[in-house]
């Protein structure tokens, strides 16, 4: 995505000062792509396994999953999770998935 397109898409929703979407229900996959692009991450199928699982958990339970739950319920293990979402996997994955700041410890 070009920077211009990314900025255009990002401007359609509100982010808090830490870079998390204010309204998780306003997320779309295209927004996810734009946020990832802004963070310098190129999304692959493996990223989408995690993002889709996190969104599904959020929609079903009202809360995003912990990283451990992601590794237990998908075939993405801890090492891969940290490679896919560098710079603090919990924070990065939450930002790209349009979910709020992570609060869990595990």
């Amino acid at each position: 995505m070009s920077e211009q397109i990314v900025n255009n898409i990002l401007e359609t929703v509100e982010f808090d000062e830490d870079g998390y979407m204010v309204d998780p229900n306003a997320w779309t996959p295209q927004l996810g792509e734009a946020i990832a692009s802004d963070l310098g991450i190129n999304l692959t199928d493996r990223h989408w396994v995690v993002i889709n699982f996190a969104r599904k958990e959020f929609e079903e339970n009202g809360e995003p999953p912990t990283l451990r739950r992601i590794t237990k319920r998908t075939d993405v293990n801890t090492k891969e999770l940290y490679q896919l979402f560098p710079g603090g996997a919990a924070k990065t994955a939450a930002k790209i998935s349009g979910l709020g700041k992570p609060t869990g410890c595990i």
Binding site: Y82, G88, A90, K91, P102
Partner: protein
Amino acid sequence: MSDNGNEPRKLAIICSKGSLDMAYPPLILANAACMSGIEAHLFFTFWGLDMITDSKMDKLNVATVGNPNMHPMFHFPTFIGAIPGVSALATSMMRSEIEKLDFPPVREFVEMVMDAGTKVYGCKMSMDMMKLTGDDLIEGAEVLGAMEFLEIAENAQVLFV
């Protein structure tokens, strides 16, 4: 990930306790650090070595002596904690809570933080005292002396548990 705009944050925790209740604080902090993009280092010394010794890490017990505020469920006086079987009971209660809450047991937690990028070190001096070698530790743990650890901990926020 940098919070002060200059250098990435680093956390170095010295783990000196080998009881089950004291195993979790450093692991939770190291995990939280990794999740936030903070570089984490865990230095296990003395009883803390039990947390990364292959033959001991699945068998940590709760210390029921020396904590005058011991609870939950009921407050029991510290002398009761010394009666044979009480530590085992407290340990089994804690393990059961850990399982109910789906927290990882110590071994899985150590492996998880290592997979997340935490560096794990055994203190050479304590290992010599306890007659341990690198082979006795969990795979991936390094053996270091205090001076080397302090070099690694330069500019890190250091905690002693």
